[in-house]
């Protein structure tokens, strides 16, 4: 086990930030911590890194107790913090070299690692730039490079794509996959469900410091009652069609507003063909028609009664 957390309780005054958290991260996986802002993701990471005191619980990393002076463990950990942690007076190259040098003493090896990190985050054209000259996306990439240049066995990433443009986000996510393929275990936090769905092999959903559910994305989606969501653009939907939809036992919920019909089927039922036949029988002119499978937001919605981004 790379990370093993048991019964972790962390309080800020009267607020319980982590409520008896249990967490296991296995070697070689990308483990996602998903939850809205304030759900306890960053607090959990800070506790795991032994930066924060906590009221109760145990934390092991690489099967050893994690403490502030566990330097041998720290040698194998790379961290990408939510806030960009670089020095404005150092160039892109110097920043990466500096932080890598805190882990790697050998100059030749460090030079190679720094170059690999630059390649990974695609900052080759910016190595002589100072951080203030970089865009938000490039700055985030630099932040990642500084955290992972020493090629640790465990990489902890705390919302590394916050306020990043889509191009940089894709670049970062691809980089994370490459790091994982190269052998790194990754603990990844985000409140962007799409990211977590895209890269994580297992996911833990947190809310108010409590674990809501843990599993693969398929396992998580399988826990909810809702299934496919079908959206059809159609003008002037007749009332008998609406009545027909309402009485369809496979449709859990539906809504028709502004010429758009949204029908949510219960899990395991595929009603797209039936629904299209119903429309065709009345010779209705259809616009766009599309089908979506349940997302982690749907899972979160059903489990907590609120949206992930609330």
């Amino acid at each position: 086990m790379v990370i093993r957390v048991r019964d972790l309780v962390k309080r800020y005054g009267n607020l319980t930030a982590l409520d008896h958290l249990d967490l296991d991260v296995q070697a070689g996986e990308i483990f996602g911590l998903l939850g809205p802002n304030g759900s306890g993701k960053t607090t959990a990471i800070h506790c795991i890194l032994s930066l924060l005191t906590f009221e109760q619980g145990t934390i092991d990393v690489f099967d050893c107790e994690m403490t502030p002076d566990a330097y041998e463990l720290k040698q194998n950990i790379g961290v990408v913090m939510q806030n960009v942690a670089v020095f404005d007076e150092l160039t892109v190259y110097d920043n990466i070299d500096y932080f890598c040098g805190l882990y790697i003493s050998d100059k030749a090896k460090r030079k190679q690692l720094v170059q690999e990190a630059i390649d990974l985050v695609a900052l080759n054209d910016f190595v002589k730039f100072y951080p203030k000259k970089l865009s938000g996306g490039l700055l985030r990439r630099l932040n990642i490079a500084c955290g992972i240049a020493h090629q640790p066995r465990l990489i902890i990433m705390d919302e590394p794509t916050v306020a990043v443009d889509p191009q940089s986000r894709n670049n970062i996510l691809e980089g994370i996959k490459k790091l994982n393929q190269a052998g790194a275990t990754i603990l990844y936090t985000s409140h962007y469900m799409e990211e977590v769905e895209q890269i994580c092999s297992r996911i833990m959903i947190l809310d108010k410091g409590r674990v809501i559910r843990t599993g693969t994305k398929e396992e998580l989606k399988a826990t909810i009652s809702l299934g496919e969501k079908i959206t059809i653009e159609v003008e002037n939907l007749p009332s008998h069609i609406l009545e027909n939809i309402k009485t369809n036992p496979h449709i859990a919920t539906f809504d028709y507003d502004d010429h758009v019909l949204v029908a949510r089927f219960i899990r395991g039922e595929n009603g797209l063909v039936d629904l299209l036949e119903l429309m065709n029988s009345s010779h209705l002119q259809l616009g766009r028609v599309y089908s979506e499978l349940p997302t982690l937001n749907d899972v979160f919605l059903e489990l907590t009664g609120k949206e992930l981004r609330d």
């Binding site: 032994s50 930066l51 005191t53 942690a85 150092l90 070299d97 932080f99 040098g101 805190l102």
Partner: protein, 383 residues
């Protein structure tokens, strides 16, 4: 590892334009302004020449001793700048006009007794009066001697009566040109040294996970915090010591401020001051629990108060504090550093200088220990 951290921290500090401005350019600017403002302060005890008029009447023509004395103190053989009086010979009416026009500081009229007429009282009028009192006293002594005991009077005695001999003389044991304005510059150096606190503050801020993202990253790196603190303090000290030396060299080379002749000791004092300044800032950063703005506020205000009490805004305050509250003078690092330079400048022995230096090193040690005691905590309640 040590060289690696040192190299990059030096790069960071040297490229920090804002810090370099406040710790180097600002003191240089202040020193230049001080130089303009206090340019004449050192000349206050220099030669003062009074402008007088002598009424050239019959009584004056008949008083040969007085004529010769006036001729002596305003003689054409002396350069103008070393004459005691710049004398105009005129009649009584013109002399009055000159006085009313403030063209002269006073005029002398013999009627037949010597009379001094002035329009206002002042430093130069006091000099003229003192000169005349001296002449009248000498003349009276000699006249009485001649009248009462003429046989005892010979040329040697007359010569002796005319001689004024100083038995006490002002001198600087280290040959420095004494100038009260140096206190302003020394306290400015003390302020510059205390500005090293900005570097110390930055070092601690960037080491603490609860103060900066860089601190968080530092805390999870496999480097002992004390080791990191020492390396970074050394880097800050190297930069700030160089800055203080530049300020001193600027004062010495460009503004011609004297530091005595013991340059090794001047450099040692600069080092002690720099160490004290950097450790002071680190200590403030560690002890003040509020945000960075509050830490900077505390650092600047304490630096300015200490510099003020060491004589940076008014040189007399240093003396006043030392006399009234000696403990405060010793507990003020800025005053102790100012005093170290002062001791080098004024005294030939090093006892006072080394006492000051010992206090500065003691301050630095206390500040470093306090900083470490706070920083050794490795976990935080919140970040």
């Amino acid at each position: 590892m040590i060289a690696h951290i040192l190299k990059y921290r030096l790069k960071c500090f040297l490229r920090d334009r804002q810090m370099v401005f406040w710790t180097l350019l600002f003191p240089l600017l202040l020193a230049t302004l001080f130089n303009f403002a206090f340019a004449n302060l050192g000349q206050i005890d220099q030669y003062v020449q009074a402008k007088i008029a002598v009424v050239d009447n019959l009584a004056y023509q008949q008083n040969l001793p007085f004529q010769s004395v006036i001729e002596f103190v305003s003689g054409t053989s002396e350069p103008l700048t070393t004459k005691l009086f710049d004398v105009t010979f005129t009649d009584a009416k013109s002399a009055q006009t000159l006085l009313l026009n403030k063209s002269i500081d006073g005029y002398i009229e013999l009627n037949p007794k010597i009379q001094l007429v002035v329009y206002e009282s002042g430093f130069k009028q006091t000099i003229i009066k003192g000169f005349l009192d001296d002449f009248v006293q000498t003349e009276t002594v000699l006249t009485e001697l001649i009248q009462n005991n003429p046989q005892s009077v010979d040329e040697d005695m007359i010569e002796l009566a005319q001689v004024r001999r100083d038995y006490l003389a002002d001198s600087s044991s280290n040959q420095a040109n004494t100038n009260p304005a140096v206190i302003y510059f020394y306290s400015l150096i003390a302020m510059t040294a205390l500005y090293g606190g900005f570097w110390g503050l930055r070092v601690v801020t960037e080491l603490q996970a609860d103060l900066s993202p860089q601190g968080a990253r530092a805390s999870i790196a496999p480097v002992h915090k004390l080791k990191r603190l020492i390396i970074e303090i050394v880097a800050a000290l190297v930069v700030h010591f160089a800055i203080v030396l530049v300020v001193i060299l600027y004062m010495f080379g460009v503004l011609h401020i004297s530091f005595g002749s013991q340059w090794i000791y001047v450099i040692l004092a600069a080092f002690a001051g720099s160490l004290m300044g950097v450790s002071f800032g680190a200590c403030i950063a560690a002890l003040v629990k509020k945000g960075e703005g509050m830490k900077i506020g505390v650092l600047i205000s304490s630096t300015m108060i200490m510099s003020f009490l060491s004589g940076m805004m008014y040189h007399g305050i240093k003396y006043t504090v030392t006399q009234a509250i000696p403990a405060l003078a010793w507990l003020n690092p800025a005053n102790v550093l100012t005093d170290a330079f002062y001791a080098l400048y004024y005294y030939d022995t090093y006892q006072r200088y080394f006492i000051n230096l010992s206090i500065l090193f003691a301050f630095s040690l206390i500040f470093c220990l306090l900083t470490y005691v706070v920083l050794r905590r490795q976990k935080y309640a919140s970040i």
